[in-house]
């Protein structure tokens, strides 16, 4: 039976809460089901002590979760929009990510920060950003970016069990996506990318909602005899370079695509690594597809003029494979 991303994420949370009494949820409205309904019904099942509504206090929510994680709880907190992670950066960056290191290995922070990102339907400049690249610059943070409901299920389970602070980014455009969870679905290892489609002419590297756009582009390119390999990064920190390098060694061309602003995005890091590690294997410039350098505008015409998608990926490939 097919279920939405929201339902499958809820199922993963539910199972992890059932498995481990240390898992607790907290965040604004989470007991009410959360702004998007992800946590609906969990307070009824696990009680208000384990599913905790909070005030609008992103800094304290994150700090409380970090402090609790140090002491043995496994908090899963929700930052309603990644745009508001801006209010929790001290704790995430200066405290949570560095605890293990600064304490010389005495303490760790097994905590998951679930958040929701990306642009959709006029959420505008302050509710549409994709800020994940900031976090790959922070040693000690793990960054996970599922591309589908089934992926989210397995990656969230691993994130909850990991023992490090994990930023878990759910794209709002994926929330309505449906998939059937395989019976044997289980945790998906963190730090390994996945070849979603194999091909020989170009490697399309993407993550989160952009994986679907890459697959669409690959479909269209196939009609023109261009064979694209599509890789879903799954995890942005750490990045699975061996899988990328192996693919690029075969295809000799790479396009990296994400919705985040191109400048300073995760694609920059991947391009830089390929430009170093795969330099002699490349037959064409490494190309990035990302959001042009502007905030996300409100009006639909502007929003869609700005956001990158399969069309831009296709165009980038066509420029490389001529």
């Amino acid at each position: 039976m097919e279920s939405t991303f929201i339902d499958i994420v809820r199922r993963a949370l539910d199972e992890e809460m059932a498995r481990d009494g240390a898992v607790h949820l907290l965040g604004e409205d989470v007991a009410a089901g959360g702004a998007f309904g992800v946590t609906k019904g969990l307070v009824e099942k696990y009680g208000a002590a384990r599913v905790r509504n909070t005030p609008i206090s992103e800094a304290a929510i994150t700090g409380v979760a970090t402090g609790a994680a140090i002491c043995g709880l496994r908090p899963v907190l929700e930052i309603m929009f990644i745009d508001f992670a801006t209010l929790a950066m001290d704790c995430l960056v200066n405290q949570a990510a560095k605890y293990r290191y600064m304490s010389g290995g005495q303490l760790s922070v097994p905590m998951v920060v679930r958040t929701q990102a990306g642009a959709l339907g006029g959420a505008a400049a302050q509710h549409s950003q994709s800020l994940e690249s900031w976090f790959i610059h922070v040693p000690g943070m793990v960054v996970v970016v599922p591309s589908s409901p089934v992926e989210a299920y397995g990656l969230l389970k691993s994130a909850v069990r990991l023992g490090d602070p994990v930023l878990f980014v759910e794209h709002k455009r994926l929330y309505a996506m449906k998939e059937t969870l395989p019976e044997d679905a289980g945790p998906i290892p963190i730090g390994r990318a996945r070849v979603v489609r194999s091909g020989t002419d170009v490697t399309l590297i993407a993550y989160s909602a952009m994986v679907r756009s890459a697959l669409e582009a690959a479909d269209n390119l196939a009609k023109n005899g261009i064979s694209a390999e599509v890789i879903d990064l799954r995890t942005l920190s750490p990045i699975d370079m061996p899988t990328l390098a192996q693919s690029v060694a075969k295809t000799r061309r790479a396009v990296i695509a994400h919705e985040a602003v191109e400048v300073g995005g995760v694609g920059a890091e991947i391009a830089a690594r390929l430009a170093k590690e795969a330099f002699y294997e490349l037959d064409a410039p490494i190309t990035r597809v990302g959001c042009p350098f502007a905030p996300i505008p409100f009006a639909p015409e502007l929003e869609s003029a700005l956001l990158p998608g399969s069309r831009q990926i296709e165009a980038a490939v066509r420029e490389l494979v001529r």
């Binding site: 604004e28 409205d29 007991a31 009410a32 089901g33 702004a35 509504n53 909070t54 005030p55 609008i56 206090s57 992103e58 800094a59 304290a60 745009d83 508001f84 209010l87 339907g121 006029g122 959420a123 505008a124 400049a125 302050q126 509710h127 191109e262 400048v263 042009p292 350098f293 502007a294 905030p295 505008p297 409100f298 009006a299 639909p300 015409e301 502007l302 929003e303 869609s304 003029a305 700005l306």
Partner: protein
């Protein structure tokens, strides 16, 4: 306080309807899929906007948040430009870049609504600081919800406003909710105005559904703030008649709670008052009808207004003097 003239009261009545009806149109068009994003209506809370803004001039600075429509209208911005922005048109206040949560009308002193809860508070304090430096008698006012008191920057702002004796009017619209979470669940603090005391900031809590009470309190507050007497925190107890945003099913509210609406509705409240004072019911109905027509026309004009040109999407990122980023 001087007794308000009937003319002023009728103007309040008209303004309340203007907001109510404009937002009614937002709801209608949202249902029809014509409003991008997720608009938040101030239905039921209009008396706060009208009562406070009646004490501000166009030169005063105003900041608001995600529930801003009423504030901007009450400050005197053109309903057409407001509505056109809400539906993302090029002739909207922000040329379609901002939308419902980011209304700016600089010429009218509306310096910004922000979608980040409490993010507006220090900005308003900064505007108040600028007003203080300018020395032209301006003040800055900011609207925020009860939920915003959970945010640290609210408290940081109180501290700075008191230290710098800023001409800042802080208006809390306490509607008892932060999204779906009731006030009892997000704070144990009985009154938002209680936060002012440690700082020595003047504060008052009033019935925010009573435009006259709001006006009266705001008048007193503005007089102090404008007279360099320092900041004022005005808490208006109010009632969100609608959901948190358009589309919220409000399963978390009881029938009893929602049933209180007739008693609390600020428009009905003022109507009862005016009828009691002798204004014929018919005259009031005529005002409402006129505003209704006006708003319908505004909306139709806005719907026909041009959409932004996709080719202009990179405009306004930075100063023109800077080399453009890739």
């Amino acid at each position: 306080m001087a007794e308000l003239t009937l003319k002023t009261l009728h103007h309040f009545y008209e303004q309340l309807w203007r907001i109510r009806l404009l937002e009614g149109q937002v709801q209608r068009l949202a249902a029809a899929g014509e409003v991008p994003g997720f608009p938040h209506l101030s239905t039921g809370q209009e008396a706060v906007a009208v009562g406070v803004c009646a004490n501000l001039s166009a030169g005063d600075y105003l900041f608001s948040g995600h529930r801003a429509h009423g504030h901007v209208i009450a400050k005197g911005s053109d309903p057409f430009a407001v509505f056109a922005e809400i539906i993302g048109r090029d002739t909207g206040l922000c040329r379609g870049r901002g939308g419902s949560m980011h209304l700016v009308d600089a010429a009218n002193g509306v310096l910004g609504a922000t979608g980040v809860v409490a993010g507006n508070l220090p900005l308003a304090a900064g505007a108040a600081w600028a007003a203080q430096v300018q020395g032209e008698g301006r003040i800055a006012a900011v609207f925020f919800g009860d939920g915003a008191t959970g945010a640290g920057v609210f408290h940081e702002t109180l501290n700075m406003a008191s230290l710098w004796n800023l001409p800042l009017l802080l208006v809390c619209e306490n509607n008892g909710y932060a999204e779906f979470t009731s006030r009892e669940e997000h704070s144990k603090v009985g009154k938002v105005s209680a936060f002012a005391a440690p700082y020595g900031i003047s504060a008052q809590t009033v019935d925010g559904n009573d435009v006259l009470a709001v006006h009266d309190a705001a008048q007193k507050a503005v007089a102090q703030v404008r007279g360099q007497g320092g900041p004022w925190l005005l808490e208006c107890m109010t009632f969100r008649m609608a959901g948190h945003y358009v589309g919220d099913a409000q399963r978390y509210r009881s029938k009893e709670e929602l049933a209180a609406v007739r008693e609390k509705d600020p428009i009905e409240r003022l109507q009862r008052h005016l009828v009691g004072k002798g204004t014929p019911q018919g005259e009031l109905e005529a005002i409402a009808a006129r505003v209704k027509e006006e708003m319908a026309a505004v909306v139709e004009r806005a719907r026909r207004a041009p959409r932004p040109d996709p080719a202009s999407v990179m405009d306004y990122v930075s100063s023109a003097v800077l080399p453009q980023q890739a």
